[in-house]
């Protein structure tokens, strides 16, 4: 719940936790049971009298529930602070914004690093494989707990967009609109391949120990390499040229395999710091979940799954995004057309690549502001 407000932003915010399935376990799509399950979440803004103004925001692969505002003592705000707040695209003066973490994550929700009540030790690889469907089923418990019958919108970029799409397919009557950004209805082999390289890097780390590294040396280097690959895929050729060029960090003195170039230094810094906030096992579980994601659920035609859906879609893609290329969003938009689902498809200019939805927000904000206003009937 937001407390103080400063400088037009949300000010200080706190993460909350909801635990459920203590008695009847949570059944995963894969047929396993988890008990209990905790989901971390944050909320911004206020719920209106008829509880109709709630927007669920979902995060990407390495994100968390802290989407906006500041945690006490933090230098930087949440990952979408430029989109969530008073007067922003997800206007906390009008809407009640919920950001939920994911099952299998490591930022306050139940995942492989959580303690298994049966053994008193972390689950590690005993944790069941989870799917995006599982993530959404867990989030439904949270939305039930918050006593929200129908979400005004479910929105997210990348993996967040997949969760949003899964939400409207799993719970069509609970969702009035969907905003999938820079995402896909199913991973291509190229996307799976990049994730696999990241997973292999983690598992090749000498400290990996089949996932049993808790309380010991962590497979930090492996996770670091996985993160470096991730960062490259999130940028574009152009954005990397602009950001780094061929610049050297400290002049150019001889040849070495140390990080000479600025881009190398950046990747190493980002990679090495990742272990401080992310669990390597969670990286495995979450990348597997998105690799398995298939909105059409193996039934082939996406429009069959969308037929009869009453929610309105705002599908957004970025032209320079080569990791989740625009043609994947076009497929979703086309499936909407074939299924008679009301949709908007917009392809935004940006040179930032896949990261654009986090960085270049002006046009995205314009679309979302108007879309939400229309869907809510201008409340």
């Amino acid at each position: 719940m937001m407390t103080a407000r400063g400088g037009g932003g949300l000010g200080i915010v706190e993460t909350k936790y909801q635990t459920f399935a203590q008695d009847n376990g949570f059944a995963t799509v894969g047929g396993k049971t988890l008990s209990p399950v905790t989901l971390a979440y944050e909320t911004y803004g206020e719920l209106n009298a008829d509880r109709s103004n709630a927007v669920l925001v979902l995060h990407a692969l390495t994100g968390d529930a802290h989407a906006a505002g500041f945690h006490k003592g933090d230098k930087g705000p949440g990952w979408w602070d430029n989109m969530i707040g008073p007067g922003k695209a997800f206007d906390t003066d009008k809407y009640f914004i919920i950001c939920s973490n994911v099952l299998g994550g490591c930022r306050g929700s139940t995942g492989p690093s959580s303690i298994n009540p049966a053994t008193g030790k972390p689950y590690a690889l005993d944790f069941p494989l989870v799917t995006v469907g599982d993530m959404v089923n867990a989030q439904r418990h949270l939305v039930d707990y918050l006593r929200i019958e129908r979400l005004l919108s479910v929105a997210g970029g990348s993996m967040g967009g997949m969760q949003a799409l899964q939400w409207v397919v799993s719970y069509p009557e609970r969702v009035r609109s969907v905003i999938p950004i820079a995402t896909t209805a199913t991973h291509s082999p190229q996307q799976i391949a990049f994730n696999e390289v990241g997973r292999q890097a983690i598992m090749a780390d000498p400290n990996w120990n089949d996932g049993n590294y808790y309380g010991r040396e962590l497979p930090a280097k492996g996770l670091s390499v996985a993160r470096m690959i991730g960062h490259i895929t999130y940028m574009s050729d152009l954005s990397m040229s602009e950001k780094f060029g061929r610049r050297f960090r400290n002049g150019h003195s001889g040849f070495s395999f140390d990080p000479d170039f600025e881009v190398e230094g950046y990747l190493q810094y980002r990679g090495d710091n990742f272990i401080k906030r992310f669990d390597p096992n969670s990286y495995l579980y979450i990348t597997k979940a998105i690799d398995y994601f298939d909105l059409a659920n193996g039934k082939g035609l996406l429009q069959e799954v969308l037929r009869g859906v009453e929610a309105r879609f705002l599908v957004i893609a970025f032209k320079s995004d080569w990791l989740y290329p625009a043609h994947q969003s076009q497929e979703t938009a086309k499936a909407c057309k074939r299924a008679g689902v009301k949709a908007i498809y917009a392809e935004l200019n940006s040179t930032w690549g896949h990261d654009a939805f986090l960085i270049e927000v002006e046009e995205q904000a314009h679309l979302i502001t108007h879309f939400l206003k229309n869907v809510s009937g201008g409340i």
Partner: protein, 199 residues
């Protein structure tokens, strides 16, 4: 060419043609004024296709369902007769393959409305035939080197085109800047709007 409604005369006649509650696809919907007016006045269930980035933003601001796409790419994701009307207003002469686009439009809709600038007005004939210059007129306002228009056709050209392709012209409306033209449209009308169906 606009009046107090903000719509041009050709757009206004399209609003009149469209039946209340119809399903409408506007190909090249621009900034969405026509579609927005149709939603408001005729309660249509409408969507638009538009290629311009800025125009898409304005359409969304108007609450319209719009797809960022190139209409030359075809309408393959739409089933046969999935719309009551397809509108091709002032875009027919701008697409790379007008034949394909019109054929597809006639497939996905029961009726198609085509509007375009008439290249054979007296003004254009004078500018080209007498002065020897590429015509620049209120309905063809672009310079030769900076124009989205790829094809130049007259009202008679279109009527002949429809006859050859067995496209039935149900209604035709002709306008200049201020009013409807009823005599010698090929010479006097700046714009033609045709309601056509498969013949």
């Amino acid at each position: 060419m606009s009046d107090r409604l903000g719509l041009r005369l050709d757009q206004k006649v399209i609003v009149e043609i469209i039946t209340p509650g119809a399903t409408v696809l506007d190909l090249g919907c621009g900034t969405g004024e026509l579609l927005a007016e149709l939603v408001k006045e005729k309660h249509v269930s409408g969507e638009g296709i538009e290629i311009d980035d800025q125009a898409i933003l304005e359409c969304v601001a108007k609450g319209l369902n719009v797809f960022h796409d190139d209409i030359d790419r075809g309408l393959s994701e739409y089933g046969d007769r999935s719309f009551d009307f397809v509108i091709l207003n002032q875009t027919f002469q701008q697409v790379k393959r007008p034949d394909e686009v019109l054929k597809e439009a006639l497939r996905v809709a029961t009726k198609v409305i085509v509007g375009f600038p008439n290249f054979a007005t007296l003004a254009t004939r004078f500018q080209l035939g007498i002065r020897g210059r590429v015509p620049v007129t209120p309905s063809l306002p672009y310079e030769w080197h900076d124009t989205p228009n790829l094809h130049f056709l007259s009202i008679l050209d279109f009527i002949d085109y429809c006859r050859k392709r067995h496209i039935r012209i149900e209604k035709a409306f002709y306008f200049n800047a201020k009013k409807r033209i009823r005599t010698f449209p090929n010479a006097f009308a700046h714009v033609g709007v045709f309601l056509v169906t498969k013949g």
